[in-house]
């Protein structure tokens, strides 16, 4: 299944582009003929089970490894030291020095990017994030290791954004942060996109996927879906079971080898048909309402990713 969303501005050249990108490690093909585009102003989510090839693809796009076949272009050219200066990257581990203060961390990354820096507005020096963010300035002299995770994430974002990168690559950017803190981080991400940057987000979490304009789903090294969340879910359906005692329904479905997910006190069986579920419940002597409801993105994702790259 591949529902490709039309680019919003077809003539805008992509900031990042993979064309039939393939990466082999010996006999293992980690990335298999993948096409990926990130346009200016676009927030693209890259999803996949562990082992699906996301991390390898990101490493190719960042220019850390060279593809075996196909092509990766950053800002229209092969990845290099020059393209690196136009990237902002927030890894899952955040990449901060825990025993330096916030101000020292920002100064260090600012100086690293100041070398030969020229951003898209012609600016030649990275901004000082402490000057524009009073909340960050308030913790400027504190050691990063002493901050909460939410604060550490803000520092990592500030370090990645100070040189006004054209492409922002984020790995689970709001993991571990409460909803209000998460909303604030997404505000920052969206502001970067609205000023023309492209954003590539890798995530396992549906709330993060929901924030993206377009999603690319990988399984076994290949792209298995590409489009908006609604495009990808399409007309997929899930069987919903409401029984007086959900635990009886659960046991009957498990006995029939059907994987049921508990949601509150109802069950959802994404991988089976309505009749199959009804039969299993009848055999178990369980009375229940069985109806077909629209699938969630999470359920669609699990179906697409399969068990192949799982575990």
């Amino acid at each position: 299944m591949s529902a490709t969303a039309p680019p919003r501005e077809p003539r805008t050249p992509p900031l990042a582009e993979a064309r039939a990108a393939t990466m082999r490690f010996g006999a293992l093909t980690a990335v298999d003929a993948v096409d990926l585009r990130v346009l200016p102003g676009e927030v693209v989510g890259l999803l996949g089970a562990n082992g699906a090839g996301k991390t390898t693809l990101i490493r190719c796009v960042l220019g850390l490894i060279r593809v075996t076949e196909g092509e990766v272009l950053l800002f229209g050219e092969p990845p290099s030291r020059a393209t690196r200066a136009r990237l902002g990257y927030v890894p899952q581990g955040l990449g901060l020095y825990e025993d330096l203060t916030v101000a020292e961390n920002l100064e260090f990354s600012g100086r690293a990017f100041a070398l030969g820096h020229r951003d898209r507005d012609g600016g030649t020096a990275p901004a000082d994030p402490l000057a524009s963010d009073p909340e960050l300035a308030a913790v400027g002299e504190r050691t990063v290791g002493d901050l909460s995770l939410g604060q550490r994430r803000r520092v990592a974002f500030a370090a990645a954004l100070a040189h006004r990168p054209d492409l922002l690559v984020l790995d689970e950017p709001t993991s571990g942060v409460d909803p209000l803190g998460r909303a604030q981080l997404w505000d920052t991400i969206r502001a970067a996109a609205e000023s023309g940057a492209g954003v590539l987000v890798t995530t396992h979490h549906m709330r993060e996927a929901e924030q993206c304009d377009r999603l690319v789903v990988m399984a076994d090294g290949r792209v298995v879906a590409d489009g908006t969340m609604a495009d990808i879910v399409g007309s997929r359906a899930t069987v919903k079971v409401a029984a007086g005692r959900w635990e009886d329904a659960f046991a009957a479905l498990e006995d029939a080898g059907l994987a049921a997910a508990l949601v509150g006190r109802t069950l959802r069986v994404p991988s089976a048909g309505r009749d199959e579920v009804a039969t299993a419940l009848r055999r178990g002597g369980v009375e229940a309402e069985v109806e077909l409801v629209p699938a969630t993105f999470d359920e669609t994702f699990v179906a697409l990713a399969g068990r192949a790259g799982g575990a």
Binding site: V43, L47, G48, A49, N50, G51, S148, L149, G150, S175, G176, V177, D178, P179, L180, G181, R182, A183, Q184, W186, D187, R190, H204, H205, M206, R207, E210, Q211, C212, D213, W246, E247, F250, A251, E254, A259, A260, A261, L262, V263, G264, R265, D298, F301, V302, A305, G306, R307, G309, G310, A311
Partner: protein, 293 residues
Amino acid sequence: MNRGGSGPAATGSFGVDDLTVAYHGRVAVAGVDLEVPAGTVTAVVGGDGAGKTSLLRAMVGAVPPERGRVRRPSSTQIGYLSAGPGVWRDLTVAENLEFSGTAYGLGGRALRERADRLLARTGLAGAADRLGAQLSGGMRQKLALAMALLHEPALLVLDEPTTGVDPVSRAELWRLVAGAAAAGAAVVLATTYLDEAERAAWVLVLDQGDPLLGGVPDELVGGVPGMMFDSPSRPDRGASWRRGARWRTWSRDGGAAPPGARRVDPDLEDAVIVAALDRHARAAAGARDGRAA
């Protein structure tokens, strides 16, 4: 049922009453009530530092309450998956299960049968001889959960069982958790993700150690005061936050809709954000009043 913990505990009435947990005078959990009934899944949700781990540690008796009461069964009737690695890295999968089962007084055929059944249900049967250190994040969490389930505990306490786990493994972990609840266990689990918490029968939201919201997910969503709007650009009034490329705005008094906005039903994410904003606004007002006095 043995009476353990710091209060009487009959089966099915596990939980905490007015619980406060502090470390060296620093309060981690303040005045929390939580009921963890048998045969259901209860979720404790919050960001880093919200107090989830402290609450669960108090539930299992790993930290004494500063104030309040914990109702729990005897320790042999508790299964606990801690926030740490949860498995022994230099034991194999089978040895991890055996070791954990022996610690709970299981042995012989009963232990072997339960271990085999859990290996099959977790999909780890093919990896029985692999070292804990060689497992992927998802496999490690499934093994840790199997170890917590092995002795069929009455109370199952899971600290972020799905953090760092991909959606396919997450679905498998949830199936095991649901299976334990279906078999009658009282399950309480911590998560940072609201979409996951929404699967529980009851959700407690913690914010910096304080209870922020608690209830059945649908009721929490239904109980959001005022009105929620969706608009393509940032409105100039009301509290607003991003939802993808669009904006959500909350108006407490249900005042006029921002231009170009349409009214929408809130979801659990909105409910928690509204409660957090409300709480912070009240705290700020309290601080102002305090200074004025």
